[in-house]
C-alpha cells in the first residue's frame, strides 16, 4: 500500500469517469452536457498529467502521452464552447454541441487507454 500509487490511480481513473460523465447523452443536445462536468474533467485530467511527470520507464512515457492527448482534446472542446458563447455571441447549436462532445469522446478514448495501461502495469508487476 503506497499513498502515491493510490493517488496516482485515483486521478487517472477519476479523469476517465468524469470524462465519461460529460460524454454520455445525446451527442447534439446541449441539455445533456454540463459545463461543470467538462470543467471538472479538464482539471482532473491536468492534475493526472502532472502526476505522470518525470517517470523514466517506458510505460510512464506512454501514460504521459495519453494524458497529454486527453488534455489537448478537452482544452479544444472548452475553447470551442467558450468562443461560441462569447466570441461569436451565439447559443449552442446542435452542430457545435456535437463537435464539443465528440472531442470529449476522443479524450475519453485516451483516458481509457491510460487506465488500461495502468491495469496492465499492475498485473505484470510481480514482487
Amino acid at each position: 500500500m503506497n499513498l502515491e500509487k493510490v493517488l496516482f490511480a485515483f486521478f487517472t481513473i477519476l479523469a476517465l469517469t468524469l470524462n465519461f460523465g460529460f460524454f454520455v447523452g445525446d451527442v447534439d443536445n446541449p441539455a445533456h452536457h454540463n459545463a461543470y462536468e467538462l470543467f471538472a474533467a479538464l482539471v482532473v485530467s491536468l492534475v493526472a498529467t502532472i502526476m505522470k511527470f518525470g517517470d523514466r520507464a517506458h510505460i510512464g512515457a506512454l501514460l504521459l502521452a495519453t494524458s497529454l492527448v486527453a488534455d489537448l482534446q478537452l482544452i479544444t472542446a472548452a475553447l470551442i464552447w467558450g468562443s461560441t458563447l462569447y466570441v461569436m455571441d451565439q447559443q449552442l447549436t446542435p452542430a457545435i454541441t456535437a463537435s464539443i462532445v465528440s472531442l470529449s469522446g476522443g479524450a475519453l478514448l485516451a483516458n481509457l487507454i491510460s487506465v488500461l495501461l495502468l491495469v496492465v502495469e499492475t498485473v505484470t508487476f510481480r514482487r
Binding site: 459545463a35 461543470y36 470543467f39 482539471v43 491536468l46 492534475v47 502532472i50 502526476m51 511527470f53 518525470g54 517517470d55 523514466r56 472548452a78 467558450g82 458563447l85 462569447y86
Partner: protein
C-alpha cells in the same frame, strides 16, 4: 541531458498540482457564487469570465470587477482567491529557483555539457587527469600546438582557473574524481579519437588507479603516468602503462651526467626542451664533496646516482628515523648555519636543497652561500608559483619536478620515437654525444631544437611512396634538402631511423628509405614545413632527387619534352 529534464519535472509535480488546484477551486467558486448584473437581476459568472478574472488576478494585474460590480459574497471569495493565488505562485517560483540552484542539478548540467563538448571534439585528444602545476603547463603547451585536451581535476579552483585561462583551443574541464571510471568515460576514454590518458594527480595511488581503469577499458589508449615511488612504478608497468615518468629519477640521472658527461647531459636536456626555448648554457658542477639536504624521494635518488658516479655526499635530514637515512647523516633541517657547518659546508663543492618545502630550500641555499660563496647551488622548486623568488635567488640549477614531468610527457607525445632514441643514446660514449651536440648546435643556433617523427607510408609521404613503388631510390638527404636550392641542406639532423630490421642511430644522409620506415628528425621549426612540402609535392621531391625542376603545367611539359 534527459536526466535533468526528468529530475526537474519530478520535482515540479507538487507545485504544479497545487497551482492547478488553486486555479480550479477559484474558478469554480466564482461560477457558483450568485451575483447581480447592472439591472439588479440575479446573475452568475460564466466559466469564460471566471477564467479571465482569475487569470489576471493570479498574476496580480487586477483590471477590476468585471463584467458587473461584485456583491459582498463575490468580494469575500475574491479576497480568498488573491491570497491563495499569490501563495501558490510564490511556492512554484520558489521551487523553480531552488531547483536551478540545486548542487545536484548543477553537477548533472555541468557533466552533460562536458560530455557534449567531448563528443564534439574534432580531432584526436588527450585526457589530462590533474590540472596542477604539471597538468596546466602540459595543457598549455599541447593546445599551443593544436593538440586537443580534456581535463579532469578534483579541485574546483583548478577547473575554474582552466575556464579563465586563455588557451588556443577549447579545453573541456570536469570537476570530478578521475579514479572513477564514470568520469573517465565521460571524458572520452572510449571515444575513438582518444589518443592517451595522462595521469598527473600528484598521488601515486590515484595515478595507479587511473592507469588500471584506462588500460582495462581502453587497451589501445596510451597511458602516461607520473610516479614518485619505484614500487608503484613497477606496479604500473605490470599492467602495461606505456610511459612512467619519475621526475626525481630523471633529474638525478641527468644531474649525475653533468659531472663526467656534460655533452650527454646536453643531449638529454635539448631533446626534451620546449622548442624555441633559449638553449641552456652548461654550468659544470665541480667534483668534490656535496652537501645534500633532505633525504626524501628526491634526496634518495640524487644520493644513489651521485654514489654511482663516485661523488661523496654529506646528508642532512630533519627526520632521520622515518626516512631511514644512512649512518653519518646529520640531524637537522639545514636552514640554520650550525647544521651546515657540521656538514663541512666551508670545504664542500656544492649544496643541494631537496626538501619538499620551497621556503626551507631557499633558506638552505642562501645560508649555505653566505657561509661559502664558492658553492654550486642546486635547489628543488616544488611550486611553479615560486618562479620569481627562485630566479631572484640566482641559483645555479633549479629542479622543478612538475616541469620535468610535463616536458618529458610533451616530448614523448610530439615525437614518440624519442623514447627509443634516448635509450640508444645512453649506451653511447661521451665523444659521440660531443659530436652530436656540436652538430645540433650548428643547425639550431641558439634555440632548443624541434623534434618530430616521420613515417614512410602512403598517407604521410605520398611522394616518397610513389617513388618507392616505381623502385626509384629516395635517400634521407632528399627529404632534408632545400626544395628551392638542393645544394643547400635544411637545418635538420636525422636522429634515428626505425625499421623492422633494426634501429639505426644517427643515420647517414645517403641512407635509402624503405616503406614502413620511421624517422626521427631534429632541427629548426621552419625546416619542418619544408620537409612537409617535399613529402607532399611530387615536383619538389623530383627536384631534390635529380636536380631537375620539372615543369608542372601541361603546356610547359609538352614544350620541354621536345628539348630534352
Amino acid at each position: 541531458m534527459n536526466n535533468v529534464i526528468y529530475l526537474m519535472l519530478r520535482r515540479m509535480r507538487l507545485p504544479l498540482i497545487l497551482l492547478v488546484l488553486t486555479y480550479a477551486i477559484s474558478i469554480l467558486g466564482l461560477t457558483l457564487i450568485p451575483g447581480v448584473d447592472d439591472q439588479g437581476n440575479p446573475w452568475r459568472m460564466d466559466f469564460f469570465h471566471a477564467i479571465y478574472f482569475v487569470s489576471f488576478l493570479g498574476s496580480t494585474i487586477g483590471f477590476g470587477e468585471i463584467p458587473y460590480p461584485f456583491t459582498g459574497a463575490q468580494r469575500m471569495w475574491t479576497t480568498f482567491v488573491i491570497y491563495a493565488a499569490v501563495i501558490s505562485w510564490l511556492y512554484a517560483i520558489g521551487s523553480i529557483l531552488t531547483l536551478i540552484q540545486d548542487p545536484g542539478l548543477r553537477r548533472v548540467l555541468a557533466l552533460s555539457s562536458f560530455s557534449r563538448q567531448v563528443r564534439r571534439l574534432p580531432e584526436q585528444f588527450f585526457i589530462v587527469c590533474g590540472y596542477g602545476d604539471a597538468g596546466s603547463w602540459l595543457v598549455h603547451e599541447l593546445t599551443e600546438r593544436g593538440i586537443y585536451c580534456v581535463v579532469i581535476d578534483q579541485d574546483r579552483d583548478n577547473i575554474l582557473s582552466l575556464e579563465v585561462e586563455d588557451l588556443h583551443t577549447d579545453v573541456p574541464g570536469l570537476q570530478g574524481d578521475a579514479t572513477e571510471s564514470g568520469a573517465l568515460i565521460s571524458a572520452g576514454l572510449k571515444h575513438h579519437l582518444c589518443r592517451g590518458v595522462i595521469c598527473l594527480t600528484g598521488s601515486d595511488n590515484s595515478n595507479l588507479e587511473i592507469a588500471i581503469t584506462s588500460k582495462l577499458l581502453a587497451p589501445g589508449v596510451a597511458v602516461f603516468c607520473q610516479s614518485d615511488y619505484s614500487d608503484s612504478a613497477a606496479n604500473m608497468l605490470s599492467f602495461g602503462t606505456d610511459h612512467i615518468i619519475d621526475p626525481f629519477e630523471i633529474f638525478a640521472s641527468r644531474f649525475s651526467l653533468m659531472f663526467h658527461a656534460p655533452s650527454m647531459y646536453l643531449v638529454y636536456e635539448w631533446m626534451t626542451a620546449v622548442h624555441n626555448a633559449p638553449l641552456s648554457e652548461l654550468k659544470t658542477p665541480p667534483p668534490g664533496t656535496w652537501v645534500l639536504c633532505g633525504y626524501g624521494r628526491f634526496g634518495k635518488s640524487v644520493h644513489e646516482y651521485l654514489a654511482l658516479k663516485g661523488i661523496n655526499t654529506r646528508l642532512i635530514e630533519a627526520d632521520v628515523l622515518t626516512t631511514a637515512a644512512p649512518e653519518g647523516t646529520i640531524a637537522g633541517r639545514g636552514t640554520e648555519a650550525g647544521t651546515l657547518l657540521e656538514a663541512d659546508i666551508k670545504v664542500a663543492a656544492g649544496v643541494i636543497a631537496g626538501t619538499d618545502d620551497d621556503a626551507n630550500n631557499l633558506s638552505i641555499l642562501i645560508t649555505a652561500r653566505d657561509l661559502n660563496p664558492e658553492l654550486f647551488t642546486v635547489g628543488r622548486q616544488n611550486l611553479r608559483s615560486k618562479d620569481e623568488i627562485f630566479q631572484a635567488a640566482r641559483i645555479d640549477l633549479t629542479m622543478q619536478p612538475s616541469v620535468i614531468t610535463a616536458q618529458q610527457i610533451l616530448s614523448l607525445i610530439l615525437a614518440p620515437l624519442l623514447d627509443d632514441f634516448l635509450r640508444l643514446a645512453s649506451e653511447q660514449t661521451e665523444e659521440w654525444a660531443n659530436l652530436l651536440v656540436s652538430r645540433v648546435a650548428g643547425v639550431v643556433e641558439d634555440v632548443a631544437p624541434t623534434l618530430w617523427d616521420l613515417e614512410v607510408s602512403p598517407l604521410h609521404m605520398p611522394t616518397v611512396f610513389d617513388c618507392l613503388i616505381r623502385s626509384e631510390e629516395v635517400r634521407i638527404e632528399h627529404l632534408c634538402a632545400n626544395p628551392r636550392n638542393r645544394s643547400d641542406m635544411l637545418p635538420v639532423v636525422p636522429l634515428l631511423l626505425k625499421r623492422d630490421t633494426g634501429n639505426i642511430l644517427l643515420p647517414a644522409m645517403d641512407t635509402p628509405l624503405r616503406g614502413g620506415d620511421q624517422l626521427l628528425l631534429c632541427g629548426r621549426e621552419e625546416a619542418r614545413a619544408h620537409v612537409d612540402h617535399i613529402m607532399h609535392d611530387h615536383r619538389a621531391l623530383h627536384y631534390t632527387r635529380t636536380g631537375i625542376d620539372r615543369p608542372s603545367g601541361t603546356v610547359w611539359r609538352r614544350l620541354m619534352r621536345g628539348r630534352t
